[in-house]
């Protein structure tokens, strides 16, 4: 199988290098031949080509079975009002490959409870899968920039098929989990969200074994904090999913823990940690590689159907955490910290 890697900016390259060590260990152990390519995206792509997603990168990704992306962005390119921005590369690649379903699992780790702003009794057993719509909604609707005028707008548009295909992903995922879907909308105000709710209700008829709950997005922000362990699968539009999954990420103790998968109709997908490029700690060996390693595990599971291999990585990480290894973001006061490389060394030792 061929994996297109996109290291990107900041800590991206260093977590990518470490993750590819694990990929090659998995290859040797289970007898797979993984080919990897490397291409430009984000700020470094702007610097080298003027384009946050060069055609060359798209071509290389098209020839691969899956994309592994680390992180894009940084202060150098961070003016959100400039014409060319690293994030555009991210939005374009999602759209180009039709990656409409963004899966973001959020779990709590008992060992990291002191890093979670919530009371310890509330976060026991939290295990949420966000299913976020990724190629529609207000991210991709018609827009008008301010320019010389005094107005600007964006359009939150959803079509029934867009919501249907996402709902099927959410309900099927729930069937493999705890049989519950929470659909988030703002149907009391927005027309697009009334379409959203009607469509979800219809799709739900195909899944009688799955409980369906509706929450308004404003209420959901509260419920995520007061009853986080009651959620199983949460499905939401592009913007609400962005907001809610970020809010829920604090439950895991560190953004550095969280992986994501962006899937389309087939097995092809893009996998990336939820954390950003963290330019403030780039090059210092401080980055937490777990989000990226878990993204690789998701890649193996979803795009390559290598469930056993995926689990091997996940178990190795759990074991290394149980042994007490901590990168700085997840170390408690006074606890010894390890470097990105040391953490991955320990994961490799578990896999060996």
């Amino acid at each position: 199988a061929t994996i297109a890697t996109l290291p990107g900016d900041g800590i991206g390259p260093e977590v990518m290098v470490e993750t590819l060590r694990v990929l090659s260990a998995i290859g040797s152990k289970y007898g797979h031949d993984f080919t990897t390519t490397e291409s430009l995206i984000g700020g470094i792509a702007i610097d080298e080509t003027g384009n946050p997603l060069p055609d060359e990168t798209i071509k290389t990704c098209e020839e691969a079975d899956a994309i592994l992306l680390a992180a894009v962005g940084g202060p150098k390119w961070s003016d959100p009002t400039s014409d060319v921005r690293p994030e555009q590369g991210l939005l374009k690649i999602r759209q180009h490959f039709g990656l409409f379903a963004n899966l973001r699992p959020v779990k709590t780790y008992p060992a990291l409870a002191s890093h979670v702003p919530l009371r310890a009794d509330l976060i026991e057993g939290v295990d949420i899968l966000f299913v976020r719509e990724l190629t529609g909604g207000i991210y991709f609707g018609q827009r008008k920039e301010m320019g010389d005028s005094d107005e600007a707008y964006d359009t939150m548009l959803y079509s029934r098929p867009e919501v249907e295909r996402l709902a099927h992903v959410a309900f099927r995922a729930a069937q493999g989990r705890r049989n519950k879907v929470t659909s988030v909308d703002k149907a009391n105000v927005l027309a697009s969200m009334r379409l959203w709710r009607k469509t979800v209700v219809q799709v739900a008829e195909d899944y009688e074994d799955v409980e369906l709950e509706h929450l308004l997005v404003d209420a959901c922000t509260m419920h995520l904090l007061t009853r986080p362990s009651s959620f199983d699968v949460i499905m939401a539009g592009n913007m609400f999913g962005d907001i809610l999954s970020d809010e829920a990420s604090v439950l895991a103790g560190s953004l550095g823990m969280l992986p994501s998968a962006s899937l389309g109709a087939g097995r092809f997908g893009m996998y990336e940690p939820v954390h950003g490029s963290a330019p403030d700690i780039a090059g210092q060996g401080k980055a937490n590689p777990i989000g990226m390693l878990l993204s690789l595990a998701m890649l193996l599971r979803y795009s390559l159907e290598l469930e056993e291999e995926a689990r091997a990585i996940e178990t190795a990480i759990d074991d290394v955490l149980a042994d007490g290894l901590r990168t700085p973001d997840i170390a408690s006061k006074g606890e010894a910290v390890c470097s990105t490389t040391e953490f991955v060394d320990a994961v490799l030792a578990k896999l060996a």
Copy 2:
């Protein structure tokens, strides 16, 4: 002064009755002649007139100096896809009176710490003022309902003057507080939010004594949980303000604690608690009157310029809480609870 009261649905009427007792006590004590009128809004207005905001109600409100609203909505009218909905009354009245600035203060109360899902050490000294845009953005942009088609959309439109006038409210409020404004947007994705950021940056030039911070909405959901006490004034668009102020409401321990003011260009305003109509506890004397009482205090302060009277109510509430009186929503396990009326009796005793 004339105050138009809109009791609405669920617990609305009972918290309104209790609040008017406090209003009349303030009138006697400070020698003011308050006239109150009562009109229909929300579900009860739909039942009695078919219209969630009857013309009669608008007329009565137009003749008043301020509006005091309790709560609208309930299961009876809760199908978000039906044509006539209680919330429409709320949206229409905001728009009709040009109430573009929604002020939502969120404070933590040490005595209620056990009701807050966050760790006690994090919420010390939290004192945030949300300034939410209330008559623009995606709530009021052009929309298309699904109808028989397969698509629906909403438009998030902002104009420079809309953002300017809100920013002035936010910066002026910050000058009377801790001199910091956090402006929330999604400028890395949305054109309307790039206009937002540019405009806020320009307005900030008039307020050199106020520190300005920008946060993306997704990041803000995390910062509200990891560093809540670092915020002073948070300004946001209609939808982001709705979402973030609801998230932050958990910091106060109960939705029942929170007031709001919706202001326009002049002194006229609408005041309402943040909580909903809570139909499950309606008529049982369980409702927390604090959000409504604090809304009355805001009315006295902003619309009637009666600062001393406003403070008298706020101080009385603090004193009653210090005495240990608790409605069910804010009682700890095993603690004695009081009724809505008992709580207000105690407030009246403090005022006497």
